[in-house]
């Protein structure tokens, strides 16, 4: 059962369910794709989250859009989303190739790798092996530009956040927090256990699509040597 509701005068959310799961993520990605193919006048952007897709629009354009029935922007937009949802049982979203994220694990770039290994009574190599074996799915982008909320961390690596957050975690830092694993796209304060760093830019405002990842993507981490890391970074 879907729900549609406004969150501001210029944004409407469509809620597809109430739990984090892959089927729902794919459904939202599929609906988002359909909306991109058939946008309504005044649409700025659509933001996928775990259970929702929120559309942001220009009310001045929407209210004048005679093609959209309704007396208010909310009626016009929610009506459009409803019929788009009705005509369609979104075909499963086309799966992109798995995106490989090279990571240098440990050392100064991964200061918490040994802590994570000790915490689980594993060797450092075992932690790296487990972390690079999983396929992680991107559920949503949020928090800071280009940050991917990912599922798929192996239970054996589930580790609590640091008691005291670091005041600056560098861009590219790969971390673990509870059941999540993720990559810091920008330098920010942060409390995740940092096990390595990727030379790949997760967010680059000079790219046409600045965020490397989007909801629905699948990624795999790959261990690289320090020199490969440095070469990539240049």
């Amino acid at each position: 059962m879907i729900q549609i509701y406004p969150i501001s005068e210029s944004a409407v959310t469509i809620e597809f369910g109430n739990a984090i799961n892959e089927a729902l993520m794919l459904r939202i990605a599929g609906f988002n794709q359909l909306l991109k193919q058939k946008p309504f006048p005044g649409l700025y952007d659509a933001v996928p989250a775990y259970t929702t897709l929120t559309v942001f629009f220009d009310p001045l354009v929407v209210i004048r859009a005679t093609a959209l029935p309704g007396k208010s922007c909310y009626e016009k937009v929610s009506g459009y989303l409803q019929q788009l949802q009705g005509v369609n049982n979104p075909a499963p979203v086309a799966q992109n190739d798995i995106i490989v994220i090279p990571v240098y694990y440990g050392g100064e770039l991964g200061p918490d790798l040994e802590y994570v290994a000790d915490y689980h009574q594993l060797s450092v190599d075992e932690v790296i092996h487990i972390h690079t074996s999983a396929i992680c799915k991107v559920y949503m982008i949020g928090f800071i530009p280009g940050f991917a909320y990912m599922g798929g961390l192996d239970d054996r690596l589930e580790t609590p956040r640091k008691a005291t957050p670091r005041s600056a975690v560098p861009a590219g830092a790969v971390g673990i927090a509870g059941k999540q694993t993720g990559i810091y796209p920008l330098q920010t304060p942060g409390g995740w256990q940092i096990i390595g760093q990727t030379p790949v830019k997760l967010f680059d405002a000079s790219r046409q699509i600045p965020s490397l990842l989007k909801a629905g993507d699948r990624i795999r981490f790959e261990a690289v040597t320090l020199s490969a890391f440095q070469n990539h970074k240049q």
């Binding site: 509701y5 406004p6 969150i7 501001s8 005068e9 210029s10 944004a11 959310t13 809620e15 109430n18 739990a19 984090i20 700025y44 952007d45 659509a46 933001v47 996928p48 989250a49 775990y50 259970t51 929702t52 929120t54 942001f56 009310p59 001045l60 209210i63 208010s72 922007c73 909310y74 949503m140 982008i141 949020g142 928090f143 800071i144 530009p145 280009g146 940050f147 909320y149 920008l186 920010t188 967010f203 405002a205 699509i209 600045p210 965020s211 989007k214 909801a215």
Partner: protein, 315 residues
């Protein structure tokens, strides 16, 4: 104004906190509403003009002076080359906007000139302005801007006898912020709901462009469990785990996991933007329907204002 097409990549909207004052400053000099303005937050500044400029100041946060002379806000001011101006913090409000005919010339990044400091993008090198920065304006003035310049140009600072009545765009009681109950409003008990709409909330000291902490009665949950992170937007009022309120503002995250107790009506966001730490506000309830109607009416009034300025200069 603001970066509107990249929220799906978690890039905040940014742009002017008080979008109304920013738009009025632009309109006063004949600019487009989306031209870059400078936002000052409880700040003073001094400027020196290398060339003739047409500027306008709007917002409650500052006054503009030339020597001992106070230059009026909300209208165009011609300033000849080699003039020293000072911007003085005004305790009336928090923010002021300085527009220049032609718009401040900074590059567009991701479709906007707005500064977003965390990602170091927009504005001047993605950072706060600092002493000795040099800024220029776009060289192509609109025909309206050019007409205003021609009517005021001379050897001295000069301004016309008209001004935009900014107060007409704002509600009379600036302590009352109209809000629409949020999706999770009923996650809180009856006392909380009553307090929310009857008690004062004070803006906390640790408030910034991302959001304000609001100090007041704590909200108690009846509904346990966590909200799965979903979209939030400037004006969203979240309730943190200790029951206190956070009002999200222009640079806020695109998604959040705290329950959303209410959403500030777009037309009252400019009032919120002018609040200073310690200011007390009250919330009053509005329906989505009325909030949308008020917003569209305000936009129409702003278009009429632009038209009135054009007519004054023979367009």
């Amino acid at each position: 104004m603001g970066r509107k097409n990249y929220r799906s990549q978690a890039v905040p909207v940014s742009g002017a906190m008080d979008a109304l004052s920013a738009a009025l400053a632009n309109k006063a000099v004949g600019n487009n509403d989306g031209d870059a303005v400078i936002e000052f937050t409880q700040a003073g500044a001094e400027f020196f003009t290398d060339s003739d400029v047409l500027i306008a100041l709007s917002g409650d946060g500052a006054c503009l002076n030339c020597g001992n002379k106070r230059l009026p806000p909300d209208r165009p001011v011609f300033v000849p080359a080699q003039t020293r101006l000072s911007l003085e913090n005004n305790k009336e409000g928090s923010r002021a906007y300085l527009a220049v005919a032609g718009g401040w010339d900074v590059p567009q990044v991701l479709g906007s000139r707005s500064t977003y400091i965390t990602a170091q993008i927009g504005g001047l090198d993605g950072r706060r302005l600092a002493e000795n920065d040099k800024l220029s304006h776009g060289v192509n003035l609109s025909p309206l801007s050019q007409s205003i310049v021609n009517s005021l140009k001379g050897d001295a600072v000069n301004f016309p006898n008209w001004a935009i009545a900014r107060s007409l765009f704002l509600s009379a009681n600036r302590k009352i912020i109209r809000v629409i109950p949020g999706k999770e409003f009923n996650w809180f008990d009856a006392d909380s709901a009553t307090h929310f709409f009857s008690k004062a909330f004070a803006v906390g000291n640790n408030s910034n462009r991302m959001g304000y902490h609001l100090k007041g009665p704590l909200m108690s949950r009846t509904m346990e469990g966590e909200l799965l992170s979903t979209s939030v937007t400037p004006g969203t009022i979240q309730v943190t785990n200790d029951g206190s309120l956070i009002l999200l503002m222009a640079d806020c995250q695109t998604t959040g996991g705290y329950p959303r107790i209410a959403q500030v009506a777009e037309v009252d966001l400019p009032l919120s933007a002018q609040l200073k730490p310690g200011d007390e506000i009250y919330f009053t309830e509005l329906s989505w329907k009325d909030a949308e109607r008020l917003y569209l009416e305000q936009q129409k009034d702003l278009q009429m204002l632009s038209r009135a300025i054009e007519l004054r200069y023979g367009f």
